[in-house]
């Protein structure tokens, strides 16, 4: 289904982020929203990125796509897409990649779609930009195919409707259709189902999984819902206060979390049909302005020691896992 010839990409990660730093200048000071993120996404895999508000998960991927606007800027680091450096790319070059190679869907489809343009027009806009050589009729045909691909009934009638005429789940599908219109090799889905009801969420997630299989697409799923990650993603990266604090195969991270924040996150979620008490993480996320160079989870961590008052790096923890905690090895023995 993918018209693009598969190049000699084997082994090269679809996305390779190194030392990414994205800062926002605010009245109260410099906010280091993304502060030294390293992350690889293998071609064809589904990576989950988990974190709470302000953890930097959305800012990281806005940076990948060159969507950070002043007062924000990429202060350093590198983002390689199949080996090609994206940081510092001219706007025109970035536009050629965005939408065609890498696409993004955002959480709130209502505000992301243009309310004054028919759904069909918004899909055609993307198609014309990247596949303008083809005839109008062919592109309209393709727009129609995209709408049916994402499971929108009566696509021909739907093409002529405006965003407000769609339900929340249908709007999310329209946005996914726009994102998929040019068959991107990498799709970044930022909270694709957070605004949706649970039965509709299940349908959209199933759709993303099916599209990934059919189109051989690489998927980054940004979410705050560990359940979604557990069911959809092979690997997970947990973010906290602008940094990745733990990465690894999803099952292993959830069954035996190494970072105290990951542990806390898992312990604070009520599980369906289980009566075990939840344990909240005390305190709040730190203010990202003028953060000291120490473990960011320090003030909320039940295992904090004096040793945590230094800059903490990610360290390998075996079988593809990495943790940003000086006590990760000893804590392995402490029951969660």
């Amino acid at each position: 289904m993918n018209p693009r010839p598969s190049s000699a990409d084997a082994g090269t990660p679809a996305l390779s982020i190194r030392g990414l730093r994205t800062h926002f200048r605010t009245q109260s000071g410099l906010v280091k929203a993304v502060d030294g993120v390293d992350l690889d996404v293998a071609a064809g895999e589904c990576l989950g990125v988990v974190g709470e508000s302000g953890s930097g998960k959305s800012a990281t991927f806005a940076s990948v796509l060159g969507l950070v606007r002043p007062p924000g800027r990429i202060a350093g680091g590198s983002v390689r897409y199949f080996g090609r450096e994206l940081v510092g790319l001219a706007p025109a070059e970035m536009r050629a990649i965005r939408g065609k190679e890498i696409a993004i869907t955002l959480q709130d489809a209502l505000t992301c779609l243009n309310p004054a343009l028919r759904a069909g027009e918004q899909i055609l806009e993307t198609l014309r930009r990247h596949r303008g050589g083809e005839g109008g009729a062919a592109l309209r045909e393709e727009a129609l195919r995209m709408l049916s691909l994402v499971g929108i009934p009566e696509p021909a009638a739907r093409l002529k409707q405006y965003p407000h005429e769609f339900s929340g789940g249908m709007r999310q599908r329209v946005m996914i259709a726009i994102a998929l219109a040019c068959r991107p090799r990498l799709l970044i889905a930022d909270e694709p189902t957070s605004a949706l009801d649970v039965t509709i969420q299940a349908q959209v997630l199933e759709l993303l999984a099916a599209l990934r299989r059919e189109l051989g697409m690489t998927l980054v799923l940004i979410t705050h819902d560990l359940g979604v990650v557990a069911e959809q993603c092979e690997r997970v990266a947990v973010m906290y206060a602008g940094q990745i604090v733990e990465t690894g195969p999803t099952r292993e991270v959830i069954d035996a979390p190494r970072h105290p924040y990951t542990r806390g996150l898992i312990a604070s979620i009520p599980r369906l049909g289980e009566t075990r008490r939840i344990r909240p993480i005390e305190g709040q996320v730190p203010d990202l302005v003028n953060l000291p160079d120490e473990c960011r989870f320090l003030k909320r961590c039940p295992y904090a020691r004096a040793a945590c008052r230094t800059r903490v790096e990610m360290t390998g923890a075996g079988s593809g896992r990495e943790v940003r905690c000086v006590r990760a090895d000893e804590l392995q023995e402490v029951p969660a």
Binding site: M170, Q201, A202, G227, V228, Q232, S268, I269, P270, V285
Partner: protein, 333 residues
């Protein structure tokens, strides 16, 4: 059920219809589908000290039910009974007295607090209204309440925007509880919060419930959260209750196909069962044009001829479990 506490709150055949006609044009052309039946013949009771969880998807009428129950919205038909007293048509003077006993915590801690009022004013206002206390006289009680919800005297003169979402929800809880109500409606109180903060608020509500012997109606769309806090669960679909039972039983063995679909759709941290799912197909119909017969039939994997023609009634199919579904009919009709 066995000899249990008496009902503190009862809804009896509660119906609420909204007229969506905007003006002359709609009237001239006699639009037929202008009546939204937000609630239809909703019937349940909440026993003193109990937490009843109300589950349903967007637009199913959960919040309307909350607002009608505490008379922020007038019911179109049916009765509301509070502590044995029919309050369906209680006049304003009685309502003031009643609202001291029934309070509500709203979903969005960003819009439900007045940005121009200090915490002291927000939390103190119910005291001024219901007990005529001056701010000075109320201060000790306000501080004690703030401390109870994890804030303190240092926060008295701050404004809502200076707080995080979790702290704002603590302020909303303090405002609701300061008049020592017996019944509290929590309308999606943690839906806008991050998971670690959500857990803090859930634990706070659980403590307050134990200490103060509160009766809760806890509304939510997250089944894990509602299941966690509730003794019993009521499931709502397009303005009607489709299933009511103890939380443990409803979650472990849902009877109504809609409840089954809802529970199957919840992503599990355990990551199992993701593929073998009983899915509710499609989307909820518009409450302007609910399907004939059982409202759920177009999405139901078990829909029969009868379901298209006749709406099932909510009835007890086993002790403590009521379901509105023809699958559990003893015979035709």
């Amino acid at each position: 059920m066995s000899a249990a506490a008496p009902y503190l709150v009862e809804a009896r055949a509660l119906t609420k219809t909204f007229d969506t006609r905007r003006g002359l044009v709609d009237r001239l052309f006699q639009r037929r589908d202008y009546l939204v039946r937000a609630l239809h013949a909703v019937d349940f009771g909440i026993r003193r000290g109990e937490t009843l969880g109300l589950i349903g998807e967007s637009g199913c009428g959960k919040s309307t039910l909350a607002r009608v129950l505490v008379r922020l919205e007038e019911p179109s038909a049916g009765r509301i009974v509070f502590d044995g007293e029919d309050i369906t048509a209680a006049p304003a003077a009685d309502l003031k007295r009643l609202r001291r006993r029934m309070q509500i915590v709203f979903q969005d801690p960003y819009t439900s607090l007045n940005p121009r009022q200090s915490v002291e004013t927000i939390v103190g206002l119910p005291l001024a209204i219901h007990r005529g206390l001056s701010r000075r006289a109320a201060r000790d009680e306000i501080v004690a309440m703030l401390e109870r919800v994890g804030l303190g005297a240092a926060h008295l003169n701050r404004f809502a925007h200076q707080f995080s979402g979790g702290q704002r929800q603590r302020i909303g809880i303090a405002r609701a509880l300061i008049v020592k109500p017996e019944f509290v409606v929590c309308d999606e109180p943690v839906s806008a919060l991050d998971v670690s903060i959500q857990a803090q608020i859930l634990e706070l509500l659980a403590e307050l419930r134990r200490e103060l012997g509160l009766t809760f109606l806890f509304i939510g769309h997250n089944l894990s959260v509602v299941g966690y806090v509730s003794d019993r669960i009521a499931v709502m679909y397009l303005g009607e209750l489709v299933e009511v039972g103890t939380a443990a039983e409803v979650l472990a063995a849902p009877r109504h196909p809609y409840t089954q679909g809802l529970i199957a759709a919840v992503p599990r941290v355990t990551g199992r069962g993701a593929n073998a799912r009983v899915r509710a197909r499609g989307e909820p119909a518009s409450p302007l044009r609910p399907p004939a017969g059982c409202h759920f039939h177009p999405r139901c994997p078990h829909a029969m001829e009868l379901c298209r023609a006749q709406a099932p009634r909510l009835r007890e199919i086993e002790p403590g479990r009521t379901v509105a579904c023809h699958l559990y009919d003893q015979g035709p009709g």
